[in-house]
Amino acid sequence: MAIRNVNLWRSVDWFTIILYFILVACGWLSICGASYDFGETDFFSFDSNPGKQLVWIGCASLLGIVLLNIEKKYYELLAYPVYVAFVILLAVTIFVAPDIKGSHSWLVLGPIRIQPAEFSKFATALALARLLSSYGFSMAKRADVLKMLAVVLVPMLLIVLQNETGSALVYLSFFFVLYREGMTGSLLAIGVCAVIYFVIGVGQGENFFELMPVNVGQFVVFLLVPLFTALMVGVYSKRAKRAWGIALFNLTGTLAAYLFSRYVIPFDICIAQLVLCACTVLYLLYVYMLERYASYLLIALFALGSVGFYYSCNMLIGKLQPHQRIRIEVLLGLKDDPAGVGYNINQSKIAIGSGGLWGKGFLNGTQTKLNYVPEQHTDFIFCTIGEEQGFMGCAFILLLYATFIIRIILLAERQGSNKFTRVYGYSLAAILTFHLFINVGMVIGLAPVIGIPLPFFSYGGSSLWGFTILLAILLRLDAERETRF
């Protein structure tokens, strides 16, 4: 490849940069709102959180400019060494980091505390991009697949060992990238199903229908299992009639069981649902015997596995002693809940719900000030937006995020045959999506309470710098894209 002089000013994607600065500015204003103490708080004083955040933003901008001026070839060249360096740093952190609320993830250098896990994402993205774009790489080769998995799972495992399971889960988002690059889709589908079963089945486990002895989480999961199964039949066998048949059979069966339980004799509908699932599985096995088409067997196994998965999750979480349960929840990255079940989420929902359509106005929120909401300027920063800016403000921010992420995906897709930049771009998009999903989902009560920051919004230097680095490198890579004439 000939050495080309890139005119950075002309070829860099300004649209993304502007979106970045809008997000950062909104984030800073939210931190002002969350830190405001009803008085003449000086947002520009370096003692206050907004003041400090301004410093982090300034540093991040400088860092971004420096990274934008490093040529792509150096990124390709240094991808592995940087990755290895970070893996070592992560490993060292486990041993040298002081114990901060049980996690060993902060390196303390004098007055500065940094979290290597926030920075290792870009190193992993670079390494993955380098690996997947290397000559002769193929997902069909077992050795390549193992290498690929190792690149993602090694840092993830090290972060789990730091007791920062929340940050480690972020690495699961790389599987979206692998999916885009050709990994089989059913693996992704099964992963998504497992997450849904877990969140609904375990998270909603304590609620009951009025009058009926039914566990809502179990009910929903057992309703989803045949529906997912039907969907798979539709996708893999291309026989739409069979798929509809399975779905309708299960839905009418469940409805009948519900009516019987509601008006005749109250009983646990889930038993009826289990019977329906069993019929579905037997039907699939019957079709498999008849047609010898392996997909049916696999789908039957999926249905059985789903039910088994739900029960083993429940066995693991539900049947344990409270203290063991807490330990496992902490292990899974679920935050501990000192004031009682669901206190944090409830307060967070109250804060957001009280915002209404237009919100209470900048600095006029009350729920996010009087310490009703925990960690109001870090993990729960979205509450402040919800309370002060209302539904309109939230929708605006979410759409801004969507635009930002979609723009990044489009940047990744416009690379033509340059696989390195594409993989890297998808990595960034997937990481951002995962953070957005978990953080906002947690705040509005849709996802489990896993403490990971909202990119560009949550207070703190490590997180902001981490995402800025990720973005700046993509912008540089994109600036050197091959333009087809």
Binding site: F176, I350, G353, C394, I409, L446
Partner: protein, 615 residues
């Protein structure tokens, strides 16, 4: 290359997932923020402040109307951080008598949201709790100089006499368990922890009231909601009149100084406890206020266990005081009659068994036996009863014996209105069957007839025995609260219980006890002009004998029954008799004669050395 293009379509799946998530979130927010009103109401509820108004706790009087326990104001120093400006820290510390370091630490703690979760710079926060009236007076003069600081009044207990700590008990902050057990309490409330404060907690505490206030978004109180229409006035706690005579209590505690033991006096007719002292003791006032924690720790670490109310929690062998109960039982069961005589040759000797006795004339009948406190007589009688053919077996005989004991109030809690009462121990035949593998007879268990061996009683039970004899066969459960304002006493404390022994037998025992005072072991209790009846007790144990006395006076129409128990005090006549006599004199004549006062001082100053081991 073909593959590359095939996978390119996957971007739509990924884009779809991103858009799906965002739309799902927007839908959820639409529900939370626009469709659902529940969360707005929750937020509004933060605008109302339900302020609790604490009722005054009931006070306590003694039987003569003297105020024993009352409430005194205490003052908390509050700080509103936002209003603290240009504080002269040195002057402030001097005014409160605190150090600069303490000031800095408190200010940091108040602001620390981890230690003080409800912190707001706009509202008053507790800076220093329970200032005494004197400290408060000093501080108040200068308060105008310290902007941002204010005073909040509250009440704490005031114990007007340094006496009866075991009876009054104390107040402490509620524990998590208390809150779980009774929804009335919230964190920071006070609850009775011991004694009457605990037993009569419900009557003493009253009912909390509340004031509904409005506060603005900053947590500052803006006024009363609907001009107080929703306010609830507090109901003050009920006052108690104790049956205690505080002067008698004072004398009892004085006499027990430097000794371990207890004194209980009961009015036989009513079962009212006139005094109940346990030594070592403590001043109830030390468990009030800021020093409570330290003092409580110090008292509970003390090896002589001053927090233990030995009068109801200590269980001791009753020694010879128990012989009165034996005499009653044997008379009732026709094992002996008034004229039955048994020999005593310096003790009971039979089949190689020997129970010692002191020198006195022999043989004797029951009245002189009680007067001289002969061991041998009771050994013979119990042996005769257990072996009697009137019962199918020794087991049945002992069961009969045990029933008598239980009817006299032994072996189970009497049910006094104080927490922590012990039940003592009266063995039954099942116990001995197990202990001796079924092979036992009257000789095996002979020592229970003289109040030794397995038998233990609390001093309260011994005093109650005195009251029962004084009443000639009945007693009202001893109780310490005579009257609860506006409430009837529990029926337990109003109606008598009867023993299984006839009145005539009681007259015999009373005669014996009178004889003991006139010519027997209790001669020191012979008060001029008062017909005192008494019985000494000298209970053997591993160390020096315990000195005990049980008696009542006057013989006809008795007004007071007393039990004295001094650990390791030696013969009953050494401590038990004189202490009992002084108490009777004090209560019945209202004062002590000069000679008696001298005797009291002498006893007060006598020290029994107990060594350093745990008691």
């Amino acid at each position: 290359m073909n593959n590359e293009y095939r996978f390119e379509n996957r971007k739509f799946v990924i884009l779809g997932i991103v858009l799906g998530i965002v739309l799902l979130f927007i839908g959820r927010l639409f529900y939370l923020q626009i469709l659902n009103d529940e969360y707005k109401e929750h937020a509004d509820s933060n605008a109302f402040l339900n302020k609790t108004i604490y009722p005054s706790r009931g006070v306590m009087y003694d039987r003569n109307g003297k105020l024993l326990v009352s409430n005194q104001p205490a003052y908390d120093v509050m700080v509103c951080m936002r209003n603290v400006k240009e504080l002269d820290t040195l002057a402030f510390c001097n005014a409160l008598g605190i150090t600069r370091e303490f000031f800095d630490k408190r200010m940091a703690d108040v602001k620390n949201r981890r230690l003080n979760p409800g912190y707001s710079s706009y509202t008053d926060q507790l800076f220093l709790s329970q200032l005494t009236a004197e400290d408060f007076a000093m501080f108040q003069e200068q308060l105008y100089k310290f902007e941002g600081f204010s005073i909040q009044k509250r009440t704490v207990r005031q114990y007007n006499y340094p006496l009866a700590g075991h009876i009054f008990g104390d107040l402490g902050e509620v524990s998590k368990k208390d809150i779980a057990a009774d929804g009335y309490y919230v964190q920071g409330d006070f609850i009775g922890k011991q004694g009457i404060e605990s037993f009569y907690e419900r009557q003493l505490r009253g009912e909390k009231g509340k004031e509904v206030l409005l506060r603005d978004a900053y947590g500052r109180v803006k006024g009363r909601y609907q001009d107080g229409a929703k306010d609830v006035a507090p109901v003050p706690g009920k006052n108690l009149t104790l049956s205690l005579d505080i002067e008698l209590q004072e004398l009892a505690e004085r006499l027990l100084q430097n000794k371990i033991g207890s004194v209980v006096a009961i009015e036989p007719e009513t079962g009212e406890v006139l005094c109940m002292a346990s030594s070592p003791t403590f001043d109830p006032q030390v468990l009030v206020g800021r020093q409570r924690g330290d003092n409580h720790r110090m008292l509970s670490k003390n090896k002589q266990k001053p927090l233990l109310n030995r009068a109801i929690m200590g269980t001791y062998p009753p020694g010879s005081t128990f012989k009165t109960a034996q005499a009653l039982t044997f008379l009732q069961e026709d094992v002996i009659d008034v004229d039955t005589q048994f020999p005593c040759a310096l003790g009971f000797r039979y089949k190689g068994l020997h129970v010692g006795c002191h020198a006195h004339s022999s043989p004797t009948s029951i009245v002189p036996t009680l007067a001289t406190s002969c061991n041998s007589y009771f050994c013979w009688s119990l042996y005769r009863m257990i072996g009697s053919s009137r019962y199918a077996s020794p087991q049945e005989a002992l069961t009969r014996w045990k029933d008598h004991m239980v009817a006299m109030g032994f072996g189970y809690r009497l049910g006094i209105d104080l927490p922590g009462e012990a039940r003592g121990f009266i063995p039954n035949s099942a116990f001995y069957d197990k202990w001796y593998g079924g092979r036992w007879n009257g000789l095996t268990i002979i020592s229970i007839s003289i109040g030794q061996g397995e038998v233990t009683l609390t001093p309260l039970q011994i005093a109650n025995l005195g009251a029962t004899i004084a009443n000639r066969g009945k007693y009202i459960t001893p109780h310490i609260v005579k009257e609860v304002q506006g409430e009837e006493l529990d029926s337990l404390y109003r109606f008598p219980k009867y023993t299984m022994v006839d009145k005539e037998h009681y007259e015999t025992v009373v005669q014996g006890m009178r004889e003991a005072v006139l010519n027997g072991t209790c001669r020191a209790a012979n008060l001029p002009g008062i017909e005192v009846c008494g019985k000494t007790g000298t209970a053997q144990n591993r160390g020096k004998d315990h000195s005990a006395f049980m008696g009542f006076a006057p013989m006809h129409n008795p007004k007071i029954a007393v039990a004295v128990y001094v650990e390791n005090g030696g013969f009953g006549a050494v401590y038990g008799v004189p202490i009992g006599a002084l108490l009777m004199e004090k209560y019945l004549t209202g004062t002590l004669s000069e000679a008696s006062e001298q005797k009291a001082k002498d006893i007060q100053q006598r020290v029994i050395y107990y060594g350093n081991q745990e008691r």
